[in-house]
Symmetry: C2
Subunit: 445 residues, 2 copies
């Protein structure tokens, strides 16, 4: 692995000690680790030949920590746009679940690869996944160079239930810590409405035994909360609390419909929360009370959810929408300033996932970084780096992506992936699902 | 002007007679006009040399009508990111207005050019502008090849009031119908809170005399409505109605805070409405009741507003956010489906602005078209063209832009603009405003 100096560049460090820390300087990277930031200087190609270190001209870049996508289902990119603008249950039960039953290993592999290509292109360096046939996702991470937090979805319905324990065990045994430590396996109870209390208890006990965190869909829809109240007399949050789940590290995705007692439990137990603004809006689920969750001192990260309900995996859009939405629904333009969205998408996300030393540009941190080309009309004039990244930048402004000190994209070219082949393989597989099943698809032709 | 055939391409026509009209074919363009769509065929370079017609391989493209940005203040790109995450009045009165007083002709010209570069890059072919020193905007349109609907803002405060009549008259006399008909001048009373009833009457009478439409900021904030109720006992919409303004063609921007009587007036008078979702969210103004406005049979277009309150001019984001937001706040994923956002951003926008024969791909229409590169991971698999454009596409997917049959961008290169120089000139001017003292301006309110 070569060492790198990205010279004469603009660095947004997200260093917690320095709240508005935009530095002009040279970023030094050795053995996959950020070794420091030096004063800006120029190099030339002659010097380049003399060195072991690869020199990258950073003068057109804003360098910032790679984005951390805290919730998703990567292989669902195969279903992108296949069933939009539909009521939630028609979408999920009539369209998505019947298709998922038909997914094969290769489908999951190529769907995940398609998502990884999109995520690298839009600046994500770590993603979280909950699905099935997850060893295929682990393989895709190994090949692509991405970092991932993976769980086999464990739930009481269909494909999610079948083989859940066996696949979870295999995933842990075969992949925990693999790919030079870039793969982290956690447990994935799907949701309170798809896991019985007994099933959740089993997962809880197993989590204690193997000492692993959990991720769960929680209070995503009003239907979910109503269902839980009717069946158990408890909200989904109260149910998890009663079962002692919050005594473990838990990543709670969505958290749209929360009671005052739910908020009290959260305030006390401090689980990690993942805000998925695009998916929650698109499915008509509602809007998570992020302002209140932040005021309660919780760590909130951002997620895209799967491409079937978003329909993209572009974390720049999640940052943008998270900030805009909080201002709009609270009638308060000071809510979720740019800095807060950037934190959710980087260092706070890393904390929630329990990954050490990523999400900031800081000596001793892993070199998971991205370079945004700032020489674009929509990023000009660059009065304020943080605002520009959240309110003006788009995913395609990312031209350089490095994970663990290895370049995954440079000059806009993916270096570890054959993008043409990935699109070909994914499309070939995805088109099997078009015009099939129970759906009332609008045709385009 | 060469004639064009864009061959073997995917065409989203937005033709009203054909609601899901995605056609694979060849698009023919002659003398700036769409002359028809022929069955797909292939050409080679030998044939190309034999013809007067320029051949463009469209096999990687979705070709659709160019986007119509129905509300904005182009020169404000100079203030992009200069004052974010602030309460509205601190933003406007302490930050923006004092800076606007200092703007010179060249500032408006280069700020507008910067916005035009951004808009072309993200697929906008027509924009609407309300500002001052508007002859500079007209010049920028002439040079760039864009299409524009321009008004000199006429209002009761500061720079907007000064010279408003003289500049409006000059704009009409010097620029109406110029640039091969691409420039349309209308009247721009700023808002009910900045124009007295007498001033609005004068503008109304002038509009009748010169037979021109008007555009106005209307019921953008709760403050504006409260102020109008307190001062006049009327909502801003009621005020305009009482003054007979709605007897003329009016483009009403924002329309966030509407009473039931406002809606009755709208239903009866059918003004054009411009939804600016990003700007309304970002300033904490609220969310326009688009669902209700559409149900009332009104034409609704989309606008970015200025880059100081958005902070970009990317109509793909407005389409995306318009659809997501309507679903989220109505808890209904069927609201504003992709097709509706596409209509707002193309044919409906054109209708509101009163421009004939743009906004659709149809024989006899002006060749204002854009080409979206569909070979991108985030647009794959292409199950459904309309959903992909609204929920997955980003502005930078646009690689070809044509206005009035002239290429403004091809293969991602701007053909009529020197982008480097524009960014340089705009930045040089914009940085005069950075880190300057904040003046405490007294408003006339």
């Amino acid at each position: 692995m070569p060492d790198f100096i990205i010279y004469n560049t603009t660095i947004l460090s997200m260093d917690e000690g320095k709240p508005h820390n935009v530095i002009q300087g040279n970023l030094h990277i050795k053995d996959g680790i950020i070794t420091g930031i030096a004063p800006p200087s120029l190099y030339n190609s002659t010097e380049n030949n003399k060195r072991e270190t690869a020199l990258i001209d950073g003068s057109n870049f804003i360098i910032m920590p790679g984005l951390v996508n805290c919730h998703g289902h990567a292989a669902m990119s195969l279903f992108r746009g296949i069933a939009d603008d539909l009521p939630l249950h028609e979408w999920l039960i009539k369209n998505i679940w019947p298709k998922e039953f038909r997914l094969k290993k290769e489908d999951v592999y190529w769907g995940t690869m398609l998502s990884i290509a999109e995520m690298i292109r839009s600046g994500t360096t770590t993603f979280t996944d909950m699905y099935f046939l997850m060893e295929e996702v682990a393989k895709a991470i190994e090949v692509s160079g991405m970092r991932g937090v993976l769980s086999r979805g464990m739930g009481g319905i269909g494909i999610m239930k079948k083989n859940a324990w066996r696949e979870t065990n295999n995933l842990i045994n075969n992949w925990q810590g693999k790919a030079n430590g870039r793969i982290k396996i956690i447990l994935g109870p799907h949701a309170v409405y798809t896991c019985s209390p007994d099933y959740l208890k089993k997962i809880r006990d197993f989590a204690a035994k193997v000492n692993l965190p959990l991720q769960i869909h929680l209070s995503e829809t009003k239907w979910e909360v109503d269902h839980s109240m009717k069946k158990y007399g408890l909200t989904p949050v109260e149910m998890l609390n009663n079962l002692g789940i919050f005594e473990h590290q838990v990543i709670c995705s969505h958290c749209v419909h929360l009671s005052i007692n739910d908020l009290r439990i959260f305030e006390n137990k401090k689980p990690g929360i993942v805000h998925n603004p695009s998916s929650n809006l698109k499915l008509g689920s509602g809007i998570a009370p992020v302002k209140t969750l932040l005021e309660a001192g919780l760590n909130v990260g951002l997620g895209t959810d799967g491409a079937a309900s978003n329909n993209n995996l572009n974390m720049f859009e999640e940052m943008h929408i998270a900030s805009l939405l909080a201002k709009g629904i609270n009638n308060d333009p000071t809510q979720i300033p740019a800095r807060t969205s950037l934190e959710m998408a980087t260092c706070k996300g890393a904390e929630i996932l329990g990954i050490q030393k990523i999400g900031r540009i800081k000596e001793g941190y892993r070199a998971d970084i991205i370079g945004i080309n700032k020489k674009r009309p929509h990023l000009s004039p660059l009065h304020e780096v943080e605002a520009q990244l959240v309110y003006s930048a788009i995913g395609s402004d990312v031209e350089l992506v490095m994970v663990d000190g290895k370049l995954l994209m440079n000059k806009g070219e993916l270096l570890t992936l054959d993008e043409e082949r990935i699109m070909h393989e994914a499309e070939k597989r995805a088109f099997r699902f078009k015009h099939k099943g129970i759906t009332n698809l609008k045709t385009s032709e």
